[in-house]
């Protein structure tokens, strides 16, 4: 069994339209499993090209307060790894490439090979691994290859050129440029670190000749910022990754699911216009 639609497919489609892809993140089980699925499908319907589903973890060292709060709410609600896979299945059924973003220990615990098989069966595209670099542990790379899954590793402003090159060579689907030195969270202005990082990453990819797309995570929370990150003469991202702003939108509407989803839809539409405006 091989996995669902690769993220690369969505990047290619966006590229054909001369625009960047919009990639939306929410943790599974937030506000609860069914509500999370509904929220992610709302994001798909309103224009997200790729979905990233967070696997809530007890020790999320790369996340700021917003995503921590949502993940904690999901854990307090009893979300399990199998619920994450169930969420993947429901979202991937829309045909939109769906990845899981996860810290490493839950996958290690589940069994790397078993998780890869179950993720592929659920129609998932692959994994984004914020605390697993390609050189840390080869087990994921082997399992992903076996099941035809995307393996999305991160590069950072502090990465050396040598490490960027190693990381892009090991990635499949896209490479995730975490363009802020800091934890996840919406930011008012885009970072001056993003442009040089994307340029260095694209230079490495050009040498390798793979055409690997570059997704940029930088705390974007509105369409104008998305346009800036996607602008060809600016940062030049192939994909704009938005997480905390989606989570914040749901956190701001506790107990009012309908309005929360409507707000989520409006935010997605604004961001989707942003990535189209950049061209």
């Amino acid at each position: 069994m091989t996995g669902g639609v690769s993220a690369a497919t969505a990047f290619a489609a966006a590229r054909a339209e001369g625009r960047a892809a919009l990639m939306g993140y929410l943790p599974a089980g937030f506000p609860d499993v069914a509500g999370g699925i509904e929220a992610l499908r709302t994001m798909v319907d309103a224009g997200c090209d790729v979905i990233e589903i967070g696997l809530p973890y007890s020790d999320p060292v790369m996340d700021g307060p917003t995503i921590q709060a949502a993940a904690q709410q999901a854990l307090d609600g009893g979300v399990r790894t199998k619920d994450v896979l169930r969420t993947v299945e429901a979202v991937a059924a829309t045909g939109t490439p769906t990845l899981v973003m996860t810290y490493w220990n839950p996958i290690d615990r589940y069994g790397v090979s078993r998780f890869a098989a179950d993720l592929a069966n659920a129609g998932g595209a692959g994994l984004i691994t914020p605390d697993l670099t390609p050189d840390a542990d080869p087990s994921w790379s082997q399992a992903a290859d076996e099941h035809g899954l995307d393996k999305v590793y991160l590069v950072a402003p502090s990465s050396t050129d040598e490490r960027i090159s190693m990381t892009t060579a090991a990635s499949r689907g896209f490479v995730y440029a975490a363009a802020v030195m800091g934890v996840t969270g919406a930011r008012a202005t885009t970072s001056e670190l993003a442009g040089p990082l994307v340029a260095r990453t694209k230079a490495a990819i050009a040498t390798q000749g793979t055409g690997l797309p570059v997704g940029v995570g930088i705390g974007v929370s509105n369409g104008d910022q998305a346009a800036e990150v996607a602008a060809r003469d600016g940062i030049g991202a192939d994909g704009v990754i938005v997480g905390s702003a989606f989570v914040r939108t749901l956190l701001d509407h506790p107990g009012d699911t309908g309005e929360g989803l409507r707000a989520l839809g409006r935010l997605t539409e604004d961001l989707a216009r942003g990535v189209r405006r950049a061209q």
Binding site: Y57, S58, D59, P60, V61, M62, G64, P65, Q68, Q72, L75, R80, T81, W104, N105, P106, I107, D108, R109, Y110, P130, D131, L132, T133, A136, D137, P138, S139, Y153, L154, V155, A156, P157, S158, S159, T160, R163, T167, A178, M181, G182, V183
Partner: protein, 408 residues
């Protein structure tokens, strides 16, 4: 047989052994820089000489090796105590922070951050920062800031900023998470003074090297004072810095048995404990593959111990390796056993140990039952001043007629 890590920090074979570096890419460059700077410093005689001079003149090292005669008579084995409780700031932790802070200065960084559980590492870090003139921020779980208020006051007085961490279980592991979040945003000018021999490479090896004076001194002192090596050595194990600091000198002495005592809390059968190696689940926590207290889905389980310094759901990867390789034996000691040992040492020797160290002592007393006449060397890693609040509550002290249990 080597018990050391390879150049990438793996104790035992890569990926099936322990250690490694499971960390965000954003911190890899800093960890590489730290590794190179540390190896360069350790190869520089002037760095090593300055470290030794500061330890000697400022920290009160080497600490004495003391024969606890009344205690020995009572238990029928010769109990030797490595008196790390007499060090400046009251524990072995000062060795590690002075080493790391000296390295920080050498690397040209101006700010240090640290996590702390009981507060001992925080106090030591604040002390080293004051000594070297560095800015210092200490992350401490809000549960711990309440139960160790005196240490918060010490850090304040030393000029450190103490940040109470409310996320997760609001204890040591969450303080580490928050310190890592700080570090990823400030890594260009900030050094993370990691408090134990755990975490990603190079911390397990680097912290061990800064703490290994404990065992190097104790081994030489034992030979000089008693003409022979001990039959067994014992230390408490939370993250495991004092234990690996003691054990390292004895790893190649095949006749010396090595024992680590983990916090058994209410008893391992209750599930409320911090006996990570004893529980035996492998996983990844805070950047290293090691033994981890975790549930079926790999979520970290909150640990429990009366001793804040042992209250950690992971353990240093070299300890995991020593256990796996059979070179060291790790056993749990309950809260009650540790508190009894604390009272016993106070009454027989006039030494009030830290509750952490009382775990090592309680374990050694258990060993003594099977080892009559043998020599057991115990690392008394810290003093008990910080634990008087806990002791007051546990024993019902502070009243004129209070009794400490069955110690006659």
């Amino acid at each position: 047989m080597t018990f050391d890590a390879d150049e990438r920090g793996w104790f035992g074979p890569p990926t099936t052994g322990f250690g490694g570096r499971y960390m965000p890419e954003a911190l890899v460059a800093a960890l590489d820089e730290l590794t190179a700077a540390w190896l360069d410093a350790m190869a520089d005689p002037s760095f090593v000489a300055e470290f030794e001079q500061i330890l000697r003149e400022y920290a009160g090292v080497p600490s004495p090796l003391y024969l606890a005669e009344r205690l020995s008579d009572r238990v029928g084995a010769r109990i030797l105590l490595k008196r790390e409780d007499l060090n400046h700031t009251g524990a072995h932790k000062i060795r590690n922070v002075l080493g790391q802070a000296l390295l920080t200065r050498r690397m040209g960084k101006t700010r240090v951050i640290a996590e702390t559980g009981a507060g001992q590492h925080g106090v030591a870090s604040a002390t080293a920062a004051a000594y070297f003139g560095l800015d210092c921020t200490v992350y401490m779980g809000s549960v711990d800031t309440k139960r160790q208020a005196l240490n918060v006051a010490r850090m304040n007085l030393l000029g450190a900023k103490v940040v109470a961490v409310d996320s997760g279980s609001a204890t040591l592991k969450d303080a580490i998470n928050e310190a890592l979040r700080d570090w990823v945003a400030t890594v260009d000018h900030t050094a993370y003074l990691f408090g134990t021999a755990a975490g990603p490479h190079p911390f397990p090896s680097m912290v061990r090297e800064f703490c290994r004076g404990i065992g190097d001194e104790a081994r030489a002192q034992c030979l000089e004072q008693y003409g022979a090596l001990p039959d067994a050595v014992a230390a408490c194990v939370g993250g495991g810095s004092n234990a690996i600091g003691l054990f390292t000198a004895f790893l190649d002495d095949a006749d010396v048995e090595i024992f680590g005592f983990e916090a058994g809390g209410d008893g391992v059968e209750t599930g409320r404990h911090a006996a990570t190696i004893h529980a035996g689940d492998r996983g990844v926590l805070h950047g290293a593959r090691t033994f981890v207290l975790q549930d079926e889905d790999g979520q970290t389980i909150e640990s429990h111990s009366i001793s804040a310094g042992l209250d950690y759901p992971g353990v240093g990867p070299q300890h995991a390796h020593l256990a796996d390789a059979g070179r060291a034996t790790y056993l749990p000691v309950t809260d009650a056993e540790a508190m009894d040992a604390m009272a016993l040492l106070a009454r027989t020797e006039g030494i009030i140990p830290a509750i952490e160290s009382a775990h090592a002592l309680a374990g050694a007393l258990r060993l003594a039952e099977e080892r009559q006449g043998q020599t057991i060397l115990v690392n008394l890693s810290g003093r008990g001043d910080k634990d008087m609040g806990t002791a007051l509550e546990y024993f019902g002290l502070g009243q004129a007629d209070a009794e400490t249990g069955d110690v006659e």
